[in-house]
Amino acid sequence: MNFDDAFGTHPQALMLRARRSEVIASNLANADTPGYKARDFDFHQLLKRETEGSVRVLTTHQRHIQPDNGMIPPAQMLYRTPMQPSLDGNTVDTEQEHTAFSANSMEYQASLSFLNGKISGLRKAIRGD
């Protein structure tokens, strides 16, 4: 068993969940801003990209830059389709955002408990008790 892939996709999933909760928090903060367009991203598509297509570049100098995995490419940042258009051009639906935020929090905690399980399993294997 390799320590690098002992955790599976969960570290990436956790990172994307944290990023998504940030985006939704921003939508909620701008619930009353005229002209603001609510944003979100497709979690599954980005997780697939992180786990399959992410390329690690060898950095041999302190000034070499590693492509930032935490960044969501601008093309993947989508706009939500408004259900009830409002007069001031704002497309934030507070109820929808609240639901998305709590669902995302639950899924974050699910990833976290998977990771905790993996860690305690590894620890058990190391100690041998």
């Binding site: 909760s21 940030e22 909620l28 801003t33 609240h98 974050y108 976290l112 620890r123």
Partner: protein, 137 residues
Amino acid sequence: MSMFKIFDTAATGMSAQSLRLNLVASNMANADSVSSSIDQTYRARQPVFRAMLDQANADTPAVGVKMAGVVESQAPLVKEYSPDHPLADDKGYIFRPNVNMVEEMANMMSASRSYQSNAEVASAAKQLLMATLRMGQ
């Protein structure tokens, strides 16, 4: 850790909403401040919100909300003929502010709801961070 940014975002939301609530309070307190000339009369004040964008890359989602300014309502003032009033002008008119109480009440409810939702976001983020800090224990 990017999760800390949620606190900043929620804090900008809460401060913007509390400023809005402050303006509502000011408008309601001054709803009956009459005066003797159009220029001196209080006018209802409304906040203007703007999404705060990431300075480095503007294409990414907003990182919060900010108060771009305060505008005074351009609705006509209420002119009232009341020659007995001590503040009446030489023609006997007093001017009342253009504060719409119904509008202000609705505004107040909207502001307090938005404040609550931002506070909830902050406390949910706190719970998630605490769980993350306990990871592996």
